[in-house]
């Protein structure tokens, strides 16, 4: 850690871990409900559980991004954070809004738009909060003498993410129009501007961990990310197939979204290539594992499993089934969850001065979580395919089909248990670090000396 103020990141990472655990609890509640064990129904009906599960996901990932921003930007700009008290204010208000939203879901205070369930008044608070966050980052960047490409990409990704939240806040009376703009948020986030954020964090990690020249990594990674981003814009069409918009979206969405996996593949190959080219001397093995797994698993989950149902002819059958859940889990896990875990694994030793970066618990956490998630994906896939077959091909009623696929959720719960063991181990490691200390300032610079450039 170079600067004292980078410690702010720790609060966001801790919040991230807390919400992540909660998210998993709600995942289990739903999985049991799917199996027929819906004992909590009176207090947490399925709609509340699913809204909570997904919004906690988004919030803990965003919290991780914010932590990453507070850690990376001072380092890249070579200066202390513009204002630590404001950053802390931003943290607490963020946490409070999050808690209100989650509690609200349980008392029926939410909008029924998947992923954007947070009610309108809270939206304004979220917007204010994010503006504060961005102001702090931008002020820090302008205060510093250095402005790296990575800092720019990361910040602009965050700025665009904030801007794209706005279309979701406009009120439309027409359901189709509302859907149309809902995807500007949901899709253009994960397949658009979040990829800039991902590019920024990945570039930072690869530069630090492999020791390959900054110029090489920045140039190529950003070209690749740019391609994903470009194809992703018109790729939005893959959500427009059946919502009531003109039918040319079938063509536009089909073609451009089919191109997105190419760029994901490029990113995977590139990250592996950089690791090979690097000096492999960095002691933080866990951060390297998570960084590389981000590149690989995002290709599997987003690229391959996305491609699997992105053509209109296929999507006609799979739309809104558990096939979507299969893709949603591995894509979010590979691309964004793993990314947050990677930056946490990288930064915690630097903030606390504790060299927990190659221990058994950490490695077990990595393998349990990833294998568990792949198992969950397969369970969802089996359930999804069975659902599509019975419901959309044989024409069984929705609930009848759901009854038939109950056994798959037993498999899901087993895999999810493996996954949760992994996450628990990760959190144990996280707790072992303790909180950041001032003595850690200036430490970790010996790793920079390992860089080849």
């Amino acid at each position: 850690m170079k600067f004292k103020s980078q410690k702010v990141a720790y609060y966001f990472f801790a919040l991230s871990m807390l919400l992540f655990s909660l998210q998993i609890v709600y995942g289990f509640i739903m999985a049991f409900a799917h199996m027929g064990f819906d004992g909590l129904h009176e207090w947490i009906p399925f709609n509340a559980a699913t809204a909570t599960h997904k919004n906690l996901l988004v919030v803990w990932i965003l919290s991780g991004f914010m932590g990453a921003g507070y850690f990376i930007i001072p380092d890249e700009s070579d200066t202390e954070l513009w204002s630590v008290p404001l950053a802390l204010l931003q943290f607490y208000s963020f946490a409070i809004v999050g808690v209100i939203a989650v509690v609200g879901f349980h008392v029926g205070w939410f909008e029924g738009r998947k992923f954007l369930e947070i009610p309108r008044p809270l939206d304004y608070l979220v917007a204010l909060n994010v503006i504060l966050f961005l102001v702090i980052l931008l002020m820090t960047m302008f205060k510093g003498k250095k402005r790296t490409t990575t800092a720019w990409v990361l910040t602009s990704g965050l700025v665009f993410a904030a801007l794209l939240y706005l279309p979701g806040m406009i009120w439309f009376d027409n359901h189709t129009v509302d859907s149309f703009f809902r995807w500007w948020v949901v899709h253009l986030w994960v397949e658009g501007v979040w990829e800039l954020i991902m590019g920024g964090i990945l570039a930072y990690l690869l530069i630090k961990l492999t020791g390959v020249d900054r110029e090489v990594i920045e140039k190529w990674l950003y070209v690749i990310v740019g391609l994903t981003f470009l194809s992703g814009i018109l790729g939005t069409g893959h959500h427009y197939y059946f919502i009531g918009v003109p039918k040319y979206w079938l063509i536009v969405g089909g073609i451009f979204s089919s191109l997105e996996p190419l760029a994901f593949l490029g990113m995977t190959l590139f990250a592996i290539q950089m690791y090979r080219k690097g000096n492999k001397k960095h002691p933080n093995k866990l951060a390297i594992y998570w960084t590389l797994s981000t590149a690989v698993v995002s290709f599997l989950g987003a690229g391959l499993l996305g491609l699997a149902h992105t053509l209109p002819g296929v999507n006609l059958y799979t739309h809104g089934t558990l096939v979507t859940a299969m893709h949603g889990h591995l894509a979010f896990w590979g691309a964004y969850a793993s990314l947050v875990l990677a930056i946490i694994s990288y930064s915690m030793p630097l903030m606390t001065g504790r060299k927990i970066f190659d221990n058994t618990i950490g490695h077990m956490a990595f393998w349990f979580a990833n294998i568990g998630m792949i198992g969950m994906t397969m369970a969802f896939a089996a359930a999804g395919v069975a659902q599509v077959y019975m419901e959309r091909i044989m024409g069984l009623e929705f609930m009848k089909a759901q009854l038939e696929i109950e056994p798959h959720f037993f498999v899901l719960i087993i895999a999810a248990t493996v996954f949760s063991i992994g996450v628990t181990l990760f959190i144990i490691n996280f707790l072992k670090f303790g909180s950041p200390v001032d003595e850690a300032i200036g430490q970790g610079e010996e790793f920079s000396a390992l860089q080849t450039s």
Binding site: V223, L227, P246, K247, Y248, I251, V252, G254, I255, S258
Partner: protein, 198 residues
């Protein structure tokens, strides 16, 4: 060896340095392949509804299309010449040819706009039928590329005039030229598929 060959041959056999730079060539391949995918879907749809496609195609104006093709190809010629003159150190001519390229590009846009306005007058929009959905999307995306190409060339034109490039150092010009030629390449696919063959 002529000066042109001399300058170019240093790049020969280097996989990482195709003329104009590797990034533009990656882009060119992606673009060309994207349009090819779209055209293959188009061909498939046509095979399922040949009569409607033939009828719709007959509503296009092949003369305008042919004239526009010639305009675009000629602008490509002038761009290639602009680069060649620059390599030979003839800056003045290079500037002039770049300007001609830009002007021809504008002529292309003008003719295309006229064609579009005729279609709109007849009420043939994006959702008229499948053929015209493709027609509008494909030529529309192409037109966007041409417009972007013109913006790039305008930048290059002014930089050339300021003397920023010379016979040795002009990779940006080559890159911009490659982008411009890419518009030609894409049109070489679109034109016969949409206007001519059936």
């Amino acid at each position: 060896m002529s000066s042109e060959q001399h300058v170019l041959s240093r790049e020969k056999n280097d996989i990482l340095h195709p003329p104009g730079g590797i990034l533009i060539w990656i882009l060119i391949f992606l673009e060309v392949i994207t349009f090819m995918i779209a055209l293959s879907v188009f061909a498939y749809m046509r095979s399922r509804n040949a009569a409607m496609f033939a009828e719709s195609q007959a509503m296009l104006n092949p003369l305008l299309g042919t004239v526009n093709t010639i305009v675009l190809l000629s602008s490509g010629y002038f761009m290639a010449e602009a680069v060649r003159k620059l390599r030979a150190g003839l800056l003045k001519l290079s500037v002039r040819y770049t300007l001609v390229t830009i002007l021809l590009g504008l002529v292309f846009i003008a003719i295309k706009s006229f064609e579009y306005s005729q279609k709109i007058e007849h009420g043939i929009g994006l959702e008229y039928n499948t053929f015209f959905t493709f027609y509008w999307l494909l030529t529309g995306f192409h037109l966007i590329h041409v417009s972007v190409g013109i913006v790039i060339l305008v930048f290059i034109y002014f930089s050339l005039r300021k003397g920023r490039y010379d016979a040795r150092d002009h990779e940006d010009v080559e890159t911009g030229a490659a982008f411009w030629h890419m518009c030609d390449l894409i049109w070489m696919l679109l034109f016969p598929m949409l206007y001519l063959i059936n």
